[in-house]
């Protein structure tokens, strides 16, 4: 009788222990004991895995994990990814980087979303941990931050590409801008588009309407009615795919027929689900499966199709892949996990072969690369053309 009770108690204790270990597993790994630390190299990842940009963060993380599966070791040590969710919020982005720093990562990758990257950047710089941005395109992410680098092109180029496309291919003479005033990405890109558009049309008043909204808004009827009343030739509306999906759909509902242009964030299935059957929607991006540019592109494409057979290949996974690859390459070249040495190695990157093209970092730590223009057609993103940097 007694022994039975003890057995039951023991079973309970064990169950509880299993449950506790199950919950605490991540943290245990993160804190790590001294013996383990020497044979593991930690790479931190901060991406929006929940919140409004969750899909973007997920795509990026998939690419990073893909690369990690293909190349799990560097300097003879195992690479361990430490992921921190920045919840699509600026404050949380700073916290996420803080957490990664506390967990002694050697290099940080991320983040989807320029505002998030800009919020996290200074914290990494203060701690002296180098960061490789996968897809933040706002110039201010790396400007004035010696520890931030990136594998993607930046918005002055992207804005110019879209303005050129609007003027030269679509024949636009006037444009309207709809921007998200809370996103540095959206405001920045709009500004560069505006400058280029005015220059290309030679008309100081070529932007005939400029309206704002806030992240998380769902009602765009008033803003779009204002745009409709001005009858622009094209509309430029860079921003989060969530808001823009609703915005573009609403624009067509209101009977606005002008082509609508956006930036690289639009390449998300969530966006496509909304606007798949609409016409004249164009955006710029970093990568396309139709035109693999390097041998690494093929490696990436094959691995992606193997791991996610029912998903569309996307630029964010490719950029995540490249950020990880560059981190590994830099650690290799540095030959040590000393953060300063890794930082120097990243800064010296030249003609690095990535999935999205050859990467050479300039003095700001930005990459100069080809932009791809895609459009929405019959429920798919279709390759339209590419624009090489000057």
């Amino acid at each position: 009788m007694m022994s039975k009770k003890y057995l039951a108690l023991l079973a309970l204790v064990m169950l509880a222990a299993v449950a506790l270990v199950g919950c605490g597993g991540g943290e245990e790994q993160a804190s790590g004991d001294a013996a383990q630390e020497s044979d593991v190299i930690k790479i931190g990842v901060f991406e929006p895995l929940t919140g409004i940009n969750a899909a973007g963060g997920e795509m990026s993380l998939e690419g990073i994990e893909l690369a990690n599966k293909l190349y799990p070791e560097v300097l003879g040590k195992k690479v361990e990814l430490v992921t921190a969710d920045n919840k699509s919020e600026k404050q949380e982005a700073a916290n996420a980087v803080e957490r990664l720093v506390n967990e002694n990562v050697d290099v940080i990758l991320g983040s989807y979303g320029s505002s998030l990257s800009m919020a996290g950047g200074p914290i990494a710089a203060d701690a002296g941990v180098p960061v490789i941005g996968d897809s933040p395109t706002n110039p201010l992410v790396t400007k004035g931050n010696d520890y931030y680098y990136r594998v993607c092109f930046i918005d002055p180029f992207q804005g110019n590409v879209m303005a050129k496309y609007a003027v030269e291919t679509l024949g636009a003479k006037t444009a309207a801008i709809v921007q998200d005033v809370q996103q540095d990405y959206s405001v920045g890109l709009s500004k560069y588009f505006e400058d280029s558009f005015k220059e290309l049309t030679g008309d100081e008043n070529a932007i005939i309407a400029k309206v704002n909204y806030n992240t998380g808004d769902k009602d765009f009827s008033a803003q779009l009615t204002e745009v409709k009343s001005k009858q622009p030739d094209v509309i430029f509306a860079p921003g989060n795919f969530t808001e823009c999906g609703i915005l573009v759909e609403k624009a067509r509902e209101l009977g606005i027929e002008a082509p609508i242009l956006g930036g690289d964030t639009w390449e998300a299935e969530e966006f496509l689900n909304r606007v798949g059957d609409l016409n004249d929607i164009y955006f710029s991006t970093h990568f396309t499966a139709e035109e693999p540019v390097t041998e690494v592109s093929n490696t990436f494409l094959n691995k992606f199709k193997e791991e996610y057979p029912d998903r569309q290949v996307n630029a964010f996974a490719a950029l995540g892949f490249d950020a990880y690859m560059l981190a590994l390459d830099a650690i290799n070249r540095a030959g040590t996990t000393d953060h300063e040495a890794i930082k120097e190695a990243i800064a010296e990157t030249a003609d690095f072969q990535g999935a999205t093209g050859f990467i050479t970092l300039d003095e700001n730590g930005d990459a100069t690369k080809t932009a791809i223009i895609k459009k929405v057609e019959d429920g798919k993103f279709v390759y339209e053309s590419k624009v090489d940097p000057k």
Binding site: Y213, D219, A222
Partner: protein, 297 residues
């Protein structure tokens, strides 16, 4: 501004305002009876949205059936919530119940994230219910007409229930004084549960209409309308059902017209809502149709 553009703005304003009004009615009703600001009200919108979503897409139900089931299940959830989170705190200080409501709200949001994932999903728009209407160059969705009608019907229904039925009399008695009402043989528990059932049903209708109007649902979708409609309810005088409707319309029309007449201020729409709230409360602390705030000595 041409006449057509102005009319387009009017259509936009009615569509937004009536949606705010619809959700605000639920908020204000629950507050009016049990003096609790049910923060989880906003998350019931989300629950109703998701139940309809899965009903239509996974179980392939006709939309009206999915909506009815969503309303029924959300109502049951609201009643369960009252029993689990609010009833044990009924005699506790009011602030405790308020905190419990905030906790409930976070619980629902995070449960949503765990169960259905954080990424937004496109809400289906049934063709029999939502279509585009073009009058000249003014275009709007059928919802712009449907939502105000539903709002008015529900407003009338709530008004009749509260003022003309026995349950309604009991509700008003309870809202005055719990203890005295229970001494008068009013079953307080039953009345409070009924209040929550009606409130949650209203939230469900609001959630479905919101999802149809802005067809993108995610576990945090309730936060934004929750905040705006709470403001609308306070503006109209929290506790007053017609007040909530007036508040909702003022807010919706104000937001649209602000952008229409001052497009350069379009980024300040949310700030506008708060400025109007502050102005109204400065001059009428109880809200537009609110009771005079008299402290009992």
């Amino acid at each position: 501004m041409t006449l057509e553009i102005f009319l387009q703005n009017v259509a936009n304003a009615i569509s937004l305002g009536s949606l705010y009004a619809l959700i605000a009615i639920g908020y204000t009703m629950v507050y009016g009876i049990i003096r609790l600001i049910n923060f989880a009200h906003a998350d019931l919108l989300m629950v109703a949205g998701y139940i309809s979503f899965y009903g239509i897409l996974i179980f392939a139900m006709p939309w009206w059936l999915a909506f009815l089931i969503a309303i029924a299940l959300t109502t049951i959830l609201g009643m369960a919530m009252e029993k689990l989170a609010y009833r044990p705190l009924r005699n506790a200080p009011r602030i405790s119940a308020l905190i419990s409501a905030i906790g409930m709200s976070f619980l629902l949001q995070n449960l949503g994230i765990v169960l259905v994932g954080a990424s937004p999903k496109p809400f289906p728009r049934p063709e029999g219910l939502v279509w585009n209407i073009h009058l000249g160059s003014v275009s709007f969705l059928s919802l712009t007409v449907i939502i105000p009608v539903i709002t008015l019907l529900l407003l009338a229904a709530v008004y009749l229930v509260v003022n003309k039925t026995n349950t309604g009399i009991a509700m008003r008695a309870v809202s005055r004084d719990f203890e005295t009402a229970s001494l008068m043989a009013v079953d307080v528990n039953k009345v409070v549960v009924t209040t929550f059932a009606v409130g949650s049903g209203l939230a469900a209708v609001g959630g479905i209409m919101w999802s149809l109007q802005y067809p993108q649902i995610d576990p945090l979708m309730g936060v934004f309308p929750g905040l705006k409609c709470f403001i609308a309810a306070v503006m109209g005088g929290i506790g007053s059902v017609p007040g909530a409707m007036i508040g909702g319309f003022i807010l919706g029309i104000g937001e649209i017209m602000l952008v229409a007449f001052m497009p350069e201020l379009s980024g300040y729409r949310d700030a506008f809502a708060f400025v109007v709230l502050i102005l109204i409360l400065l001059f009428k602390p109880g809200g537009i149709l609110g009771d005079h705030v008299v402290e009992k000595v």
